[in-house]
Assembly symmetry: C2
Homo-oligomer: 194 residues x 2
């Protein structure tokens, strides 16, 4: 039995910032624009058509070659602010947790469904694989920026549950600029409960 | 506001048959096994890391290069039987509608959510993009196999709504054989209603 089907709709968001993390780094850096190719952000630590499986895919032997569905980390300014409040810190910078796109204007961004499409003014498009899970590595990165708060390493994992943003891959190549208005296509939804 | 979150679970299905459609054809042919690469089924009409946009993507100019998320058509034996009954025909062969994998044992297969993973015994894995939409081309293919029923061209589009199976792409390379038991990982679900 299925729940009632929710129709598709399109909403809009603003790109508050774009960031990349060159290979060898974890923290990302702001740019004016990101060039997106089918590999993601060229030179970024998460770029590539393929990647090796890691601790997030315990069902594959570590290091198994697989298609890379985690090219981009999409964050919400509103969720980051909520997470900062929950952790008792003044701000959560998207760079600290390796974000690539910071959006505003989408309530509960992390709950957007898999397959959602982001359409940018340049023609670039990103397809959402789904929500990201908060990890201790990001928590440690935050802690390293807030003196005297080693608790943030684990605290982030708790505070950012279901608020860690989205992951996606490039469907159509192009550019994304800070200040862009992005159209977000949410497909028809139904819960699978059969 | 979100609906209640449904936890992740893993179910199983049986691969009743595997099929391919060499380039230049529409109808698929049964094989004993399919070799899956990152391009899909090598030589198949839907293979490729990239494809050109078509009538299913009216938001892109026709022929726009894009990542190919429609490498494989995954069908349900049970749904096909329901659709056949609704159309008043004895059988709906997966070949007629260009299926690549025919599964049995999954109720309402077409409602499985985007991001669902199919794990095959060889190690091959397919990630589901989402449900397919029935088209007149498939309906015409069915009609060409059932004398005196030109109504099936449009009849299929109506009868197969939300029963047209799933589309997906190869996450991990390997082989899929008729008779395989496939594990199906359904991730945690929540409806986005914000």
């Amino acid at each position: 039995m299925m729940t009632e089907r929710i129709p598709a709709r399109t909403i809009e968001a603003r790109v508050e910032g774009v960031y990349w993390a060159p290979r060898g780094t974890f923290v990302s850096e702001p740019l004016d624009a990101l060039k997106l190719t089918y590999e993601g952000i060229p030179g970024d630590r998460h770029s590539g058509l393929y990647r090796e499986s890691g601790p997030r895919e315990p069902w594959y032997p570590r290091g198994t070659p697989m298609r890379n569905e985690r090219q981009l980390s999409v964050l919400s300014a509103e969720e980051n602010a909520e997470v900062a409040t929950a952790m008792g810190i003044p701000e959560l910078k998207p760079e600290w947790i390796g974000g690539n796109l910071l959006l505003s204007g989408v309530p509960e961004l992390s709950a957007l469904p898999p397959r959602t499409l982001l359409w940018f003014p340049s023609g670039a498009a990103v397809r959402i694989d789904g929500d990201n899970g908060p990890c201790k590595k990001s928590g440690a990165s935050i802690a390293s920026n807030i003196p005297g708060r080693p608790d943030l390493e684990l605290g982030f994992v708790q505070a950012a549950k279901y608020k860690r943003g989205l992951l996606g891959w490039v469907e159509r190549e192009g550019e994304v600029r800070a200040g862009d208005i992005v159209k977000i296509r949410i497909w028809s939804q139904v819960l699978y409960t059969a």
